[in-house]
Symmetry: C2
Subunit: 488 residues, 2 copies
């Protein structure tokens, strides 16, 4: 239903401009500089051209069919533009314009008129008061605040444009792929449940990320969420969980946030995965988009330092994951490879041996064994920082040739990349997640490693992030398995 809205062949921007700090400039420059694959038509009766494109006085003057119109002009101009759209047989509108229900009685009245008009003419309206939309797969970057994450599997619905923009900005800087984005604004016509429904059926969307302050019709929302989450994970942050937060939400979007305990009770049945913060929204979505789901909660831990194993074991226990005993067969195998005083338990402490073949073999021993549903690998990725700094000191003291140092550094990157490639191979073979935690970073280090196949590897900054993701993936897998059984 919303295909031509999110994947238009041609767009018009009403109020298009080149003048700095205007929304008509932000949207136009973002679309053009973002290299939208379709056609762009600026609409503005007061100027001749925008960024080298000839303007049209009105959408009705555009010589071809238009799939989507962005409106950036003041609230009072909107109704006439909608009339023009109907005349031009345009169905899809992104109403950037603010000054409606969020501003008081007059705005509420204007918004009501828009709703009635849209219903009468079957218009799909995003907003008003929206940050805009994005579809990376046709390079449509059409938000007022500019950020351009690369194409990927995560689609975002945000009841705060600002917050949604920020999540895309993080995704861009961490090289996490995004499919589509919509800032739902005042939700005068299209509501959060409409976007959910669309993303459910959208083949480019693998994971749905939502920032929710409130929903108008809880029952409809729950039904759609329930249907969707059986096929695709929904990762949501519910804002307005507390009385004071709910009050702030009411003053922000005007939506009744309602009691979070009621909301959460209902949501529990939907299979929605709840994040605890905006950062977690992206962290969890990237995990669901990258790793195979764990089929159980039995975790194997491999570490280069004892302390990190302890910290991770604590985190696992606190998040409902189990750390089974190390099977005898693995003990026997590692006995042959490790110094006699190694820990002989899970977590497996590889006691700092700088041996990447051992690292790969140890990971395979764990992931291949039926005792484990997932493996966390601590400190191997990132260990090159230690080696780099050790070599650099010797270089600085004049006891290593520069070319030897350079070759050594190259080798460090190669080892790390080969190790990450191997993790992906092992995930493909055993269909279990392997989560590396890199405690240190160097320039050029990735956040997500991909070989272009089904699975990717997200590289975590700290064990608690990896454990959180595993625990939420485990819970979601449980939910889907139970629901699938019931409905089988």
């Amino acid at each position: 239903m919303l295909d031509s809205l999110f994947s238009p062949k041609s767009v018009a921007v009403v109020g298009a401009s080149e003048i700095p700090f205007k929304w008509g400039t932000y949207i136009s420059s973002n679309i053009l500089d973002g290299k939208f694959t379709g056609r762009y038509y600026p609409v503005n009766p007061n100027i001749k051209g925008v960024f080298g494109f000839t303007t049209f006085p009105s959408v009705v003057d555009i010589p071809e069919a238009v799939d989507l119109v962005f409106i950036t002009t003041p609230a009072k101009t909107v109704m006439q533009i909608l009339l023009d759209c109907v005349q031009k047989k345009i169905k899809n509108i992104v109403m950037i314009t603010s000054g409606f229900s969020e501003t008081g009685p007059e705005g509420i009245q204007m918004e009501k008129e828009i709703i009635a008009f849209a219903q009468k003419h079957g218009l799909n309206i995003v907003g008003p008061n929206t940050m805009g939309i994005v579809n990376t797969h046709c390079s449509l970057y059409a938000t007022g605040a500019i950020t351009r994450p690369k194409p990927g599997g995560i689609s975002i619905i945000a009841q705060s444009g600002n917050l949604g923009y920020q999540i895309m900005e993080w995704a861009e800087s961490e090289d996490i792929g995004i499919s589509k984005f919509v800032g739902s604004g005042n939700e005068a016509v299209l509501k959060i449940e409409d976007y959910l429904k669309y993303f459910k059926s959208d083949s480019e969307t693998k994971v749905i990320l939502m920032y929710v302050e409130g929903v108008d019709d809880g029952r409809v929302f729950v039904d759609i969420a329930k249907e969707t989450s059986l096929h695709k994970p929904i990762i949501a942050l519910k804002a307005g969980r507390t009385e004071i937060g709910s009050k702030a939400a009411a003053s922000h979007t005007g939506a009744m946030a309602g009691s979070f305990s009621i909301f959460k009770g209902v949501m529990h049945q939907t299979g929605i995965v709840f994040a605890e913060s905006p950062r977690q929204l992206l962290t969890l979505s990237a995990a669901f988009d990258s790793f195979p789901l764990p089929k159980g909660n039995r975790i194997g831990i491999i570490t280069l330092g004892g302390g990190w194993g302890v910290v991770t074991a604590d985190e696992c226990a606190e998040r409902g994951l189990r750390i089974p005993e190390l099977p005898q067969s693995i003990k026997d195998e590692l006995d042959r490879r490790l110094p006699p005083f190694w820990s002989r338990g899970n977590p497996v402490d590889l006691v700092g041996q700088p041996d990447f073949q051992l690292f790969k073999d140890a990971v395979e021993l764990m992931v291949a064994h039926e005792a484990f549903d997932a493996v966390i690998v601590l400190g191997i990725v990132g260990s090159k920082v230690f080696a780099y700094k050790a070599a650099e000191a010797v270089l600085n003291l004049g006891k290593m040739e520069k070319n030897v140092f350079d070759d050594f550094v190259k080798l460090l990157y190669i080892h790390q990349n080969e190790f990450l490639d191997r993790l992906i191979e092992l995930m493909d073979v055993y269909n279990k997640p392997i989560l590396p935690v890199s405690l240190s970073k160097m320039p050029g280090d990735e956040t997500v490693h991909s070989c272009g196949g089904k699975h990717k590897v997200v590289i975590y900054d700290s064990p608690e992030e990896a454990v959180l993701c595993l625990s939420k993936m485990y819970q979601y897998n449980n939910y889907v398995e139970k629901r699938s059984t019931v409905y089988a």
Copy 2:
């Protein structure tokens, strides 16, 4: 008591070497390349020189007094070296060497002999099986894994060298100042409580950061912690909180981690601030080292986007902080400065006005008012990313001159720096913390902003970090106030 250990004028490294991947090389190269302000003597009977320094066959052959000896040679050689140290009247030893109680019965026996010897001769021994020590204030970087954070007020005691090293590495990369570091290793002689006692009296230490797996004598520890925390905040992570974590800790350090619930019950009286993860250890320590303590829990929030205000209000409520109503006087003042539809509540939504004078004035209105004990400022720092990307698109489309763009970007950095300077001024005047949350970063952006004075500003990546720090600072302030009253 440990002054000459942490601030030696001369050090010797037994087992000093230039050969890669040896601890004698790591420690020597780190000390030399780190530009230790004292004198360095390599000890090794098998080679003539190390990094241009003539070696000595034994510490007794060194021609001057030696304040501190690092031992990096195998466990079996250690006792003879200790005898040499006693002969040379050396009191302080950092025993890097492993292979003692962590490896089994034979090692336990050797460690017992060392303990007895140290007691007899009054030796201060760090370790064995330690990562080493650091004192940034005399540029003594003497850890096996190399990282060199800048001088600052945070001193670290780590019962995992690896984990402690990592915290320093994070501090270095985030430009957070460190005073001293010790990896306590097997704690054969010097124990966690000895370091705590020393850092309590050390004038260069403002905040104590601890990673704790277990303590030998709980009563002694509690007494010292109690005494210390009245004067300096102690930020601690207790690992082995869960049964499985405790088991992992036992296999790691051999220490009995004990039940965390008992530990925590006792620790509650000590005023120790508990972190929930290694990252939080550093985050909290940096906050305590930078901001004035909040005298109450009433928080003013300023935001550029409604969603962030809601999220932050929720976080505050969940962490025991309050969001009071906005006082009438502030409403009146902001009525004159903001569009008519502004929220007129706390959080104050500045509705995206790009006006740094307004930002500064709004912060002062809040921090100066008796209704608030602290202020969180969302999105103003970092808002330049939005402006930068908007201008960049216009530049790319050929509608802005490169020199105009460059000047604009310079101005963005200047505005941000002036704003951060102003926050520090306001903190100095009103003695209340102001925590900025920068959601986006650009190259060269700081994590900590300082004007060289009493207070600094830590710039947070996300609101939940700022709220966590405020809530822990508030709790600590409460503890100190209550204890001070009782003892007054």
